[in-house]
C-alpha cells in the first residue's frame, strides 16, 4: 500500500540488518518477528516534541516504529534543555521538529519520520490524524488536549495520554472502542489562570522522562497487542513520594463526545471552550498603578525614599533580588502590618503578575502610595541591569 508520501510499499519481512538491530525484541516470545513487523508497519503521531515527546520519540524510534509523525510548531529554547533530552545545546533556536528528526534518524535511520512544524488546529487535525494508527498526546495546554481527544474519537484512533505538573504525572489511554475519552474524565476545562503552566509552576525535569516512557510503553503494547493496557485506568505517579496509584476510569454513558447519544459531531473552537483567546491563558487583567523599571532606577538613583516589596517565594529571592522586603504573596494578608502605608511602596515579583495582585489587594486595604513594577525582575534584567539573572 503506497503511502501519501509516495514511498514504495513496505517489504513483508525484516532485513538481516533489522533482525540484528531488533534482536533483543525478537528473542522475546511476546514480541518476536510478528510483533516487530507490527511495529514496522505502525504509523504513530506524536503531538508535541517537548518534555513528553523526548522519551516518546527516542523509544519509539529505537523500537522500530516504521512511521513516526512529529508535530510541534515551536523552536528549541534554552530552558527546554533541562528536560527535553532529544535536543542539545547546538539546537537552541532550531525548529523542534527538525532537531528531533536529526536526533531520531541518527538513532534509527531505517524508520520514516514525517514532521509537521505547525500548530494543531480544528482546521487541520482531522486531516493530519487520519493517516496514523495511534496518536500520542504530549501537549501542554487544555485546549489542545480537548482537540486531540475529540479528533481521535471522531476518527476512532487511540489517544495515548500523558500529562505532568511539577512532580506529578498522569497516564492513560483514551479513545479505545469501549473505553472512555478525555471528556468522560474531565467534561470541562479549568478556567484560565486556575491551573499554572510549567513555566509558572515548574517541573522536575525527569518527570516527563518517566511519564513519556510510560506512554511509549503503552503505545508499543497497543501495536503488538500484548499485556494489559491503561484503557479505563488512570495511572497517577507521585515522584516525590515515589508511588503509583491507579483509578478506575469509566466511559461516561452521557458523554457528549463518545456516549451513546453524543451531541458533538465535529471539532469546535477549543480556545473558546476553555475560555482562552490566543496562545496563553492570560491571568485576569488587573488595572493597577505601574512603574517601569527605568523609572524605578531613576528614582532610586535620585535618592527617593521608596520601599521595595518583593512578593516572590524565598527560593526565588535566593536566585536574584532587588534587596526588597520579602513577603510571599500567599502571606501578604497575614503580614500586611509589616508595611507602612505612609511610605511609597513599589511591589515586584518575577514577571509582574503576582505583584499586580499584591498591589490590588493592598489598594483595597487602603494603601494609596503603591505601584507595581511592570514586567517584574525579568524586565529589570532586560532594561536596567543585565547582570541580574533571568529564570
Amino acid at each position: 500500500m503506497a503511502t501519501k508520501l509516495g514511498t514504495p510499499a513496505r517489504p513483508e519481512g525484516l532485513s538481516n540488518e533489522e533482525i540484528l538491530r531488533y534482536s533483543r525484541h525478537l528473542i522475546m516470545p511476546e514480541v518476536g518477528m510478528e510483533g516487530q513487523l507490527k511495529l514496522k508497519n505502525a504509523r504513530v503521531l506524536l503531538i508535541g516534541t517537548g518534555g513528553l515527546g523526548a522519551p516518546l520519540g527516542l523509544y519509539l524510534a529505537a523500537a522500530g516504529v516504521g512511521h513516526l509523525g512529529l508535530l510541534d510548531f515551536d523552536v528549541v529554547d534554552f530552558t527546554n534543555l533541562q528536560r527535553q533530552v532529544t535536543f542539545g545545546s547546538s539546537d537552541v533556536g532550531k525548529p523542534k521538529t527538525e532537531a528531533a528528526r536529526t536526533r531520531l534518524s541518527n538513532l534509527n535511520p531505517d524508520i520514516q519520520i514525517q514532521t509537521f512544524a505547525t500548530k494543531l488546529t480544528s482546521e487541520n487535525a482531522l486531516e493530519i490524524f487520519k493517516d496514523f494508527d495511534v496518536v500520542v498526546d504530549g501537549t501542554d495546554n487544555f485546549p489542545t488536549r480537548y482537540l486531540v481527544n475529540d479528533a481521535c474519537v471522531l476518527l476512532g484512533k487511540p489517544n495515548v495520554y500523558g500529562s505532568i505538573f511539577r512532580f506529578e504525572g498522569q497516564a492513560t489511554i483514551f479513545g479505545m472502542p469501549d473505553g472512555p475519552c478525555y471528556r468522560c474524565l474531565y467534561p470541562e476545562p479549568p478556567p484560565p489562570g486556575l491551573v499554572p503552566s510549567c513555566a509558572e509552576g515548574g517541573v522536575l525535569g525527569v518527570l516527563p522522562g518517566i511519564v513519556g516512557s510510560i506512554q511509549a510503553m503503552e503505545t508499543i503494547k497497543l501495536i503488538i497487542g500484548r499485556g494489559r493496557n491503561l484503557t479505563g485506568r488512570l495511572l497517577l505517579f507521585d515522584a516525590l513520594e515515589m508511588n503509583f496509584r491507579e483509578f478506575k476510569l469509566r466511559k461516561n454513558p452521557k458523554c457528549p463526545m463518545c456516549g451513546a447519544h453524543r451531541s458533538i459531531h465535529q471539532l469546535i473552537d477549543y480556545f473558546e471552550f476553555c475560555g482562552v483567546r490566543g496562545e496563553e491563558a492570560p491571568a485576569p487583567d488587573l488595572k493597577v498603578p505601574e512603574i517601569l523599571p527605568r523609572e524605578l532606577k531613576a528614582r532610586l538613583d535620585r535618592g527617593d525614599d521608596l520601599f521595595i516589596l518583593d512578593v516572590r517565594e524565598p527560593h526565588e529571592y535566593q536566585i536574584c533580588n532587588l534587596q526588597g522586603h520579602l513577603i510571599p504573596l500567599g502571606e501578604l494578608a497575614r503580614r500586611v502590618h509589616e508595611l507602612d502605608s505612609s511610605r511609597e511602596i513599589v511591589a515586584h515579583c518575577r514577571s509582574g503578575k503576582r505583584s499586580a495582585e499584591a498591589v490590588d489587594f493592598l489598594r483595597k486595604a487602603g494603601f494609596r502610595k503603591i505601584q507595581n513594577l511592570r514586567g517584574g525582575i525579568l524586565a529589570w534584567s532586560d532594561e536596567v541591569d543585565s547582570t541580574v539573572p533571568k529564570y
Partner: protein, 93 residues
C-alpha cells in the same frame, strides 16, 4: 483511624503544603467540607461559587469515581482514602 484525604500536587500550596489530611466523616461531602474548613483557599479550587464540585476535579473513594457511586453522598468510613484528582495539562513546556 479516620478518612484520609489525599491532596494532589497542584493544590498542596493551598493546603499549607500538606500531602494529606485526616478527618472523621461519614460521607465524601462531610470530608470535603472539613477539608475546606481547615484550608479555606481550597474552597474556590474545588467548588464553584454556587457550591458545586468543579467538573475538572475528580474525587475518588478507594479508587472509584464518586460520580459512579453516590456523588458527594458516597458514604465513607474509617480507613477509606479519598483522592482528589484535578486535570493537569503540562507536557511540552
Amino acid at each position: 483511624m479516620a478518612v484520609k484525604v489525599v491532596i494532589p500536587t497542584p493544590l498542596r500550596a493551598h493546603a499549607g503544603g500538606k500531602t494529606a489530611a485526616e478527618f472523621s466523616a461519614t460521607t465524601v461531602q462531610e470530608a470535603l467540607n472539613k477539608l475546606t474548613a481547615e484550608f479555606a483557599e481550597l474552597r474556590r479550587h474545588l467548588y464553584t461559587n454556587e457550591g458545586k464540585l468543579r467538573s475538572f476535579v475528580n474525587v475518588y473513594v478507594n479508587g472509584e469515581d464518586i460520580r459512579y457511586l453516590s456523588q458527594e453522598n458516597t458514604p465513607t468510613q474509617d480507613g477509606d482514602t479519598i483522592n482528589i484528582i484535578p486535570s493537569i495539562a503540562g507536557g511540552t513546556q
